[in-house]
């Protein structure tokens, strides 16, 4: 039955080349933890991606309740955490997942760095990887404000002061991000929300796609 469905689609769309391309790539012995236990260091990148998927899914559920507004943001998070069934677990996944993503990404970066895997011909993939790192830090920074509790507000004020200290463009940058040169309020929360939920995830998915396409093109770096 499944085969007949596959053949029906394949006759019309010729999906076999696409599917074989995904399925047929050889995994060399030196990255396979089943053969060398020390190869677990090659898992960090994949686990980072796994957490990114968790973050996107849990974030989608958080967005069902969250209201990006100074009156209701905190109330909606409080409601989600203490009233909604399993809401606490969803928020917990998103909160701890953010920290864990940073940890896993850092470990992955150290693995690539100390193995010198960023050397020719993989320079571009390293750069894309570091850009992913920056985007993830940006996601952490913007997500911190959204619950609109005390630590969110005051940490964001510090962040904005830091941004303001950048020479020449600091003032403009601050107004661009916070929506006002003085007030951290309604404008700030909607902007951070838009950046956290639309701009940065879009950038992240694009960069991750590039990252993976480059790995498939070049293959994984050989053993030391």
């Amino acid at each position: 039955m499944l085969n007949r469905i596959y053949n029906w689609v394949d006759e019309r769309l010729d999906i076999t080349p696409l599917w074989r391309d995904i399925a047929d790539h050889e995994v060399p012995e030196h990255v396979n933890p089943a053969h060398h236990f020390s190869a677990f260091v090659y898992c960090f990148g994949g686990l980072t991606f796994f957490i990114v998927v968790i973050q996107i899914l849990s974030g989608m559920f958080l967005a069902m309740y969250y209201v990006p507004d100074i009156e209701n943001a905190w109330q909606s998070v409080y409601y989600l955490q203490y009233e909604v069934a399993y809401g606490k677990i969803i928020r917990s996944m998103h909160h701890w997942g953010a920290s864990l993503a940073i940890v896993m990404m850092f470990l992955h970066m150290l693995r690539v760095f100390f193995q010198g895997a960023y050397k020719k011909p993989r320079e571009l993939n390293w750069i894309v990887g570091v850009l992913i790192f920056f985007v993830m830090l940006g996601l952490g920074l913007t997500g911190y404000l959204l619950p609109w509790d005390m630590k969110a507000l005051f940490a964001t004020k510090v962040t904005l002061n830091i941004i303001e200290s950048v020479p020449f463009i600091g003032e403009h940058l601050k107004v661009f991000i916070a929506g006002d040169s003085e007030i951290v309020g309604a404008q700030t929360i909607t902007r951070f929300f838009a950046i956290h939920v639309f701009f940065l995830p879009a950038a992240l998915l694009g960069l991750i796609a590039l990252h993976f396409i480059m790995i498939r093109k070049q293959g994984i770096s050989g053993p030391l």
Binding site: R20, K88, L110
Partner: protein, 257 residues
């Protein structure tokens, strides 16, 4: 894809009707060592790792509650800010004299900029063919230095942070206020809640009325005669009402204490 003469296509599409690629795995016998196919052999193992990781992660999520402090109050000027832990090292850097005040640009732009810039351009800074860490001492050395600095700065920030106070300053006030109580209604009628908040938990520099530790007589005195910034004569009710309200406020306890 260009259509070739003599080829048959599915309808008017560009999909060839014959000689389609057979759906069979590649031959891996020519590959060195114990190379194995990604699908399905390796993916199954990856899923095992993923499943173990997920179990650990879920245990963490159900056992550690995500923190939520009280609602943001911009008027609280005494609050000590704290970023998420992975930004602590950048935050700590700004506390040193060579990276703050007139040198703030070193702490906010130059030092982090150099570090992250070097990270971004690592392939162009470390261009030799050697890959082993010990054979490229400069790259390894700088990375070790960066890790040591980040660890030290994070440690210093965490060690110098007053965690007890931080926990107290953000706590959600948790007294369940019975707004139907006669004492609450008198407080409402006399405008107490316009400064001390409708939850009586205080507001900015106006103190909380919950768990003050004062006796009913002391509260009644403050309501009549004021205290600190609070002027006298705000309470305009009768002596009887004052007694009811003072009793009510003196008996408000913080939950869990």
């Amino acid at each position: 894809m260009q259509k070739k003469k003599g080829m048959k296509y599915v309808g008017d599409s560009r999909i060839p009707a014959e000689n389609r690629k057979p759906n069979v795995p590649k031959d891996y016998t020519e590959y060195p060592g114990k190379t194995e196919p990604f699908w399905p052999n390796f993916l199954l193992k990856e899923w095992l790792v993923g499943a173990v990781f997920l179990i650990g992660f879920l245990i963490l999520t159900v056992s550690a509650e995500p923190p939520l402090e009280k609602m943001a109050d911009p008027t609280d000027s005494s609050y000590i800010p704290m970023p998420d832990w992975y930004f602590l090292f950048l935050y700590q850097l700004l506390k040193y004299s060579y990276a703050s005040n007139e040198f703030i640009i070193f702490g906010t732009v130059i030092i982090p900029g150099l570090a992250f810039g070097a990270l971004l351009l690592a392939p162009f800074l470390d261009r030799g063919p050697e890959r082993r860490p010990l054979k490229r001492p400069l790259a390894t050395g700088f990375m070790m230095l960066a890790i040591a600095s980040i660890t030290y700065l994070t440690w210093e920030a965490a060690a110098n942070h007053d965690w007890e106070k931080a926990k107290a300053q953000g706590q959600i006030p948790e007294a369940s206020i019975d707004t139907e109580d006669e004492g609450y209604k008198i407080a409402e009628a006399n405008g107490c809640i316009s400064c001390h908040g409708s939850d009586l938990a205080g507001n900015g520099s106006n103190p909380s009325l919950i768990g003050t530790g004062l006796t009913a007589e002391e509260i009644a005195d403050i309501a009549r005669n004021g205290n600190g910034n609070m002027p006298a004569g705000l309470f305009t009710g009768s002596e009887e009402e004052l007694k009811i309200m003072a009793e009510y406020l003196a008996n408000l306890k913080e939950e869990g204490k």
